[in-house]
């Protein structure tokens, strides 16, 4: 997980890239209380902080608080069974 280029969010990029079924992911996250907008190539998520989840598994979390970002990232990764992202 690292700060994004604009410095206003944290992003996690899986290696190798994934190929997620976003329709299925949407249902699972909605069941967990997330508000989800399906933009075809990414999901726009909101439950507290906002986040985006791309089809290739990239996650961007809109907070400048690294602890909050880590908490949200771990929650999403665990919930969706994604491989744990590398780095701090």
């Amino acid at each position: 997980m690292r700060l994004c280029a604009g410095g206003g969010a944290f992003e996690a990029i899986p290696r190798p890239r994934l190929e997620l079924n976003l329709a299925e992911v949407k249902l699972r996250l909605e069941a967990a209380g997330f508000s989800v907008v399906d933009a075809r190539v990414m999901l726009l998520l909101k439950r507290g902080s906002e986040a985006t989840l791309s089809r290739d598994g990239r996650i961007l979390i809109k907070t400048r608080d690294p602890e909050e970002a880590r908490r949200i990232l771990d929650d999403l990764v665990g919930r969706l069974g994604l491989p744990p992202p590398a780095g701090p």
Binding site: G6, G8, D38, L44, E50, T52, L60
Partner: protein, 207 residues
């Protein structure tokens, strides 16, 4: 002359606006609100840029805030991502022109400079602006990044522009640097273009 200035929160647009104001033109600002594909920072930067320039030039510079996020969702769902940035810009131009009509403005102004980002190649600018009839003024078109940054620092807008923020999440991995009008028109034929623009303008907020 009365003009409509597209303001992004970046480094270039306040410099371009200041040049227009310095020549005595009466300006109206438009900000396309790209949330949730960004965060609150672009809007905050635009309001801070305008506060500074209003004080400096003694002009009221009304700000129109137009929702652009729903348009982006529609574009992502319906059209080829490769040309997403050009399609996005076309909707910005259309909305800005509608605001110009409402405000009695005769010109549209942007901070574009050639080649800075994918959307600012000549072919993409042509594809993006083919949808508007009003003349477009680009005061920074031939300047390089360093010149523009130096002017922004002198104005005091640079520090606002470089505050942290979320880059646009709707930008595709490989945005087209060349686009043809045939290709763009084919993509837009899948959309209710007038309906989208009507809704954006209907939901405008003036600040």
């Amino acid at each position: 002359m009365r003009g409509v200035m597209l303001m992004s929160g970046g480094i270039d647009s306040p410099v371009a606006l200041s040049l227009m104001l310095r020549q005595g033109h009466e300006m109206v600002a438009v900000h396309m609100d790209n949330r949730p594909f960004t965060d609150d920072s672009p809007f905050a930067k635009v309001t801070d840029h305008l506060a500074l320039l209003r004080a400096r030039h003694g002009q009221p510079i009304p700000l129109y805030l137009l929702p652009h996020g729903p348009t982006q969702v529609t574009l992502m769902r319906t059209t080829d991502r490769h040309v997403g940035c050009v399609l996005c810009r076309r909707f910005m131009w259309r909305a800005a022109e509608r605001i110009a009509e409402r405000e009695g403005a005769s010109v549209l102004v942007t901070g574009e400079a050639l080649g800075q980002v994918a959307s600012q190649t000549l072919s993409n600018m042509r594809s993006a602006t083919a949808v508007v009839r009003l003349p477009i003024v680009r005061p920074l078109i031939g300047m390089d990044k360093h010149e523009i940054e130096a002017m922004a620092k002198e104005l005091g807008t640079y520090g606002i522009s470089i505050r942290p923020g979320v880059c646009c999440q709707a930008v595709p991995d490989r945005p087209a640097t060349r686009s043809s009008l045939v290709q763009i028109d084919r993509q837009e034929s899948k959309l209710d273009v007038d309906g989208i623009v009507d809704e954006v303008v209907r939901r405008a907020t003036v600040l």
